[in-house]
Amino acid sequence: MNYLKAFITGGALCVIGQLLMDHTKLTPSRVLVIFVTAGVILQGLGIYQILVDFGGAGATTPLTGFGYSLAEGAMKGVKEAGILGAFTGGLKAAAGGIAGAIFFGYIMALLFNPKSKK
């Protein structure tokens, strides 16, 4: 059941992305930025937490989940370290994702050469 919920939540978020790509003139990079920002705002308003509770990784894995971690971390940071925490907490919470992206990106760049699309 968890799998199904995650699948539906993640799939629905991706459908929104695909609709933006197909029906607007937004570039892929802008769609990415919109997704991260939307995650931050929705979690700031406490709405994204509902999606995470329902869909689990289906909500945290797409890019909106990255925004969610940033917002979540910033709010936690404020509780622990005051106003400075608003600046440090977000990155702390998202550090795993960021370091992972850099590390695996680097490994892949060492291992493979890009190929042209067919």
Partner: protein, 342 residues
């Protein structure tokens, strides 16, 4: 200068240079397309033995120039000038190729209109008596152009259906003051036009008005009817731009549909090759001219061709800043024999 200038844009070459040899190299995808049999060399791998696509593109250009010179029966030392350009920043494919070829080099930037632009400039140089033989060349590479103009391929972005596919290929033509043709009889230099299209993925629509303007100027200034030509061929408008061009030409009062085609529409099989709106890039008109058109003229299937290569004069920065896409088209009349008609 009497008689050489036919109007604002068109020049009549009083001693028409001869196109004495042609060469073309294409990538694997172009080698699977409908025009495959016309290309001299099809690469198995679009890295062409190099470390990067940019290096591969420059190597294609260098090799295609060498091949064209070789089949002209001349050597590098008696080619007086090389006219070339490409799509990469600071036209490095061309200048890096010229670094090794050591032929006096005139770098051109006309985006995808470069094949016609280089032939215009080379022909004028020959007709003016400043050279015996020149080589005109250009190149493009799908993967280096994606990185230059859109997104690096590694980012894996999706392409919209109006997008065209940049041709991986290079073409070169050697023009000489004396020869047995085909001859470059007229050149029409385009104006920069802008109809306000902002979508960098939809270049065909942006460039069509420039093509129409140049074709119309050419026909009006030479007094020729479109049917004087066996083929009027635009460079890389693709299927969308081609339809717009036909429509706009009709409004200008010229029925060109019987003789009109577009290199970008011809080079790929859109249905099988997933290329959406067709081919684009400097290499598109370069390989169609130096492959298909040159060989069909030789066979006698084409006698009079008007090549109208089209270029979108945008840069990635102007796109980011929300500017529209200015475009240009240059036309070159290639005729198997001279002295008849207008």
């Amino acid at each position: 200068m009497p008689g050489k200038r036919l109007g604002k844009q068109t020049l009549r070459l009083s001693s028409p240079p001869s196109m004495i040899s042609n060469a073309s190299i294409v990538g694997p995808k172009e080698g699977e397309g409908p025009l495959a049999i016309y290309f001299d060399q099809v690469l198995k791998d679009d890295y062409f033995g190099e470390e990067s696509w940019e290096k591969a593109e420059s190597k294609m250009l260098k090799e295609v120039v060498k091949n064209a010179i070789k089949s002209s029966g001349r050597s590098n030392t008696n080619i007086n000038f090389m006219f070339a350009g490409d799509l990469l920043n600071q036209i490095v494919s061309s200048s890096f190729a010229a670094r090794e070829l050591q032929i006096p080099f005139v770098g051109l930037y006309g985006a995808c209109s470069t094949m016609a632009e280089s032939i215009c400039m080379g022909s004028i140089m020959l007709d003016g008596g400043f050279a015996d033989a020149v080589v005109c060349a250009t190149s493009s590479h799908f993967s280096s152009a994606e990185r230059q103009y859109r997104f690096p391929l590694e980012q894996g972005v999706q392409r919209p259906p109006v997008a065209q596919w940049t041709v991986t290929g290079a073409g070169a033509a050697v023009l000489a003051e004396a020869g047995n043709g085909p001859y470059i009889t007229h050149v029409t230099i385009g104006k920069v036009l802008d109809f306000g299209v902002k979508d960098a993925n939809n270049m065909g629509a942006a460039m069509a008005p420039a093509a129409v303007d140049t074709i119309t100027a050419h026909l009006n200034e030479t007094g020729r009817s479109p049917l004087y030509y066996d083929l009027i061929i635009t460079g890389d408008l693709g299927n969308i731009g081609k339809a717009i061009t036909l429509d706009m030409m009709q409004k200008e009062g010229f029925e060109i549909d019987k003789v009109y085609n577009d290199c970008g529409s011809m080079i790929f099989d859109g249905a099988k090759q997933d290329t959406y709106a067709g081919g684009s890039g400097c290499g598109c008109s370069a390989v169609v001219l130096n492959g298909y058109i040159a060989k069909e003229i030789k066979k006698g299937n084409l006698n009079r061709v008007l090549l109208v290569a089209t270029g979108a004069l945008l840069s990635p920065i102007t796109t980011w800043q929300g500017e529209s896409i200015p475009s240009i088209a240059h036309a070159v009349a290639i005729e198997k024999t001279i002295g008849e008609g207008a």
